[in-house]
């Protein structure tokens, strides 16, 4: 019976802690057991993923890690051959780099116009990605200090434009 009382007491203490946590505006986090478990994060042989991905349908099938490396190499090769400096080459999606790799293997003569168009395509892709990231951030950061700061900056920006118009 005493044991049951001890358990009940502990349960009430837990309820008290829950109330305090909710009252203090704590955000729910993800519970992760670390002690005794395998190390989190990247692996020396498997890179950022931290595991040998045998198959991942989201990443496009079997062994996506190795395929990605290949396309990165292909893209590097392309920028070297076209002689155009393309800092974003390694970050670009596989689709565009594969296209470039295809052109290289066919050893077609790349005109400056085509190279410029390719670079513009890469920039457009990058901007699209950035826009998607912004939308995601906007969705998840509602109410956060950084988001409030962003809104204030927007207000200040429109004030500046209004001031400029007044001056004209």
């Amino acid at each position: 019976m005493n044991y049951l009382h001890a358990i009940l007491k502990r349960f009430f203490r837990i309820c008290l802690v829950v109330t305090i946590l909710v009252g203090c505006g704590a955000k729910a986090g993800e519970f992760k057991q670390t002690a005794g478990e395998m190390k989190e994060g990247p692996g020396v042989l498997t890179g950022e993923e931290g595991a040998l991905v045998v198959y991942d349908s989201k990443q496009g099938g079997a062994f996506p890690q190795f395929r990605e490396n290949k396309s990165e190499e292909g893209s590097k090769e392309t920028s070297e051959k076209t002689g155009e400096a393309s800092p974003a080459a390694s970050d670009t999606p596989a689709e565009s780099t594969q296209m470039a790799a295809g052109q290289t293997s066919a050893e077609t003569q790349v005109s400056p116009e085509a190279a410029r168009e390719f670079q513009e395509f890469q920039e457009w892709k990058k901007e699209q990605q950035a826009f998607r990231e912004f939308q995601e951030w906007k969705k998840t950061s509602q109410g956060a200090a950084e988001y409030k700061e962003f809104l204030e900056w927007k207000e200040w920006k429109s004030y500046q434009e209004w001031k400029k118009q007044q001056g004209q």
Binding site: A6, I7, L21, A28, F31, A35, M38, K39, G43, D56
Partner: protein
């Protein structure tokens, strides 16, 4: 061993085949990962000292296969197969100071062999060998030094023994301390609720008509820090576990890197009418850059025998030199008081090693 390998290859082939031929799923993945965790362990039992080359039992050498199939927005089914292989486990009594041989018969040992079915709003049901609901409830630790020091202090040097001044063995470190961390890993069925405001509950039922309950939580404050906690209860007193047990742990990590961890466990031996076993553990740590440092204190009572009092002080440093590699060092001092045995020597140990994820 041969049988194990054959079974392993068969199981792996089946898993890959099943995962690859399921085109109706929204997302399928299958991954292999692992780690190697090796260390040099020095110990001094008051009469003699020795150096050992060990597998760090705090987080043993292992590898695993994981896979998941997302059938639709709500339903996921996955597998988890994790095995460890420790050559000279730091907690094995065969590596005691003065023993010259390595631990024999190194083989794979099971950790997790389970599948699970998960629903977004109904929770997760797991079947197989794996964590019981209460496993890990006394081991919540945000210090970043748990690879070498956490509430289960026997993982570092549990294979060393306390000796009298005459060099007679009194008890092994692994027997006189316990964090009473739930029911470890067993063959069981387990249910986890979905997470509500950072809290979730679990229960499991296993062989021997035994079962357990647990509650876990994780919360964070943007400009303050993170808090994680767990509580476990084993009603016990059944065919398999002749005791009742409660345990819990809580860990707080401030944004500055300063962190505090507490763990407590208590085992009530109704059946065999001996005193309650108790364990208290506290840790103070600091994380900065690629480093994590900590000091801890443990007090255990009546774990091996009635009247036992064991204390331990530890200090640890972990250097996360690269994301996939960490090096660590730890010092631990032990003291045991036992009724009717005087002249028990203190024990010291130092562990230096590294963990590499591959």
């Amino acid at each position: 061993m041969k049988k194990f390998s054959q079974l392993g290859i068969f199981g792996l082939t089946m898993a890959i085949t099943i995962l690859l031929i399921l085109p109706s799923a929204q997302a399928v993945d299958f991954k292999i990962s692992g780690q190697i965790n090796r260390a040099v362990l020095w110990g001094d039992n008051g009469n003699d000292d020795d150096v050992k080359f060990v597998d760090n039992d705090n987080s043993s050498t292992r590898f695993r296969f994981t896979g998941e199939n997302e059938f639709n927005e709500n339903w996921n089914v996955g597998i988890n197969w994790e095995v460890q292989m420790e050559s000279n486990s730091s907690a094995d009594e065969e590596i005691d100071i003065g023993e010259d041989n390595d631990v024999g018969g190194t083989s794979f040992t099971e950790r997790k062999i389970e599948f699970y079915v998960k629903h977004k709003s109904l929770g997760k049901l797991s079947l197989g060998q794996g964590d019981t609901a209460t496993n890990g409830t006394a081991e919540v630790d945000l210090s970043g030094t748990d690879v070498v020091n956490y509430s289960s202090i026997v993982d570092m040097d549990g294979g060393f023994s306390f000796r009298t001044g005459d060099d007679a063995v009194v008890a092994f470190v692994g027997d006189v301390y316990s964090n009473y961390d739930g029911l470890s890993r067993r063959d069981r069925i387990r249910y986890d609720t979905p997470t509500f405001f950072g809290f979730y509950g679990s229960t499991s039922y296993m062989n021997g008509q035994t079962y357990d309950f647990a509650l876990r939580s994780a919360h964070e404050w943007e400009n303050f820090g993170k808090l994680a906690a767990a509580f476990g209860y084993v009603p016990g007193n059944n065919q398999r576990d002749e005791y009742r047990q409660i345990d819990g742990s809580i860990s707080f990590l401030h944004n500055s890197g300063l962190n505090l961890t507490f763990s407590h466990g208590r085992r009530d031996f109704d059946v065999r009418d001996s005193n309650d076993g108790k364990n208290y553990y506290g840790k103070l740590g600091y994380k900065f850059g690629k480093w994590a440092l900590s000091v801890d204190y443990t007090y255990s009572e009546n774990i091996d025998q009635d009247g036992d009092e064991a204390k331990s002080i530890g200090a640890a440093a972990v250097w996360n030199i690269w994301d996939s590699v960490q090096f660590y060092g730890s010092y631990r001092w032990h003291d045991l008081d036992r009724d009717n045995v005087s002249d028990i020597e203190n024990l010291s140990a130092v562990m230096i090693g590294g963990r590499v994820k591959f």
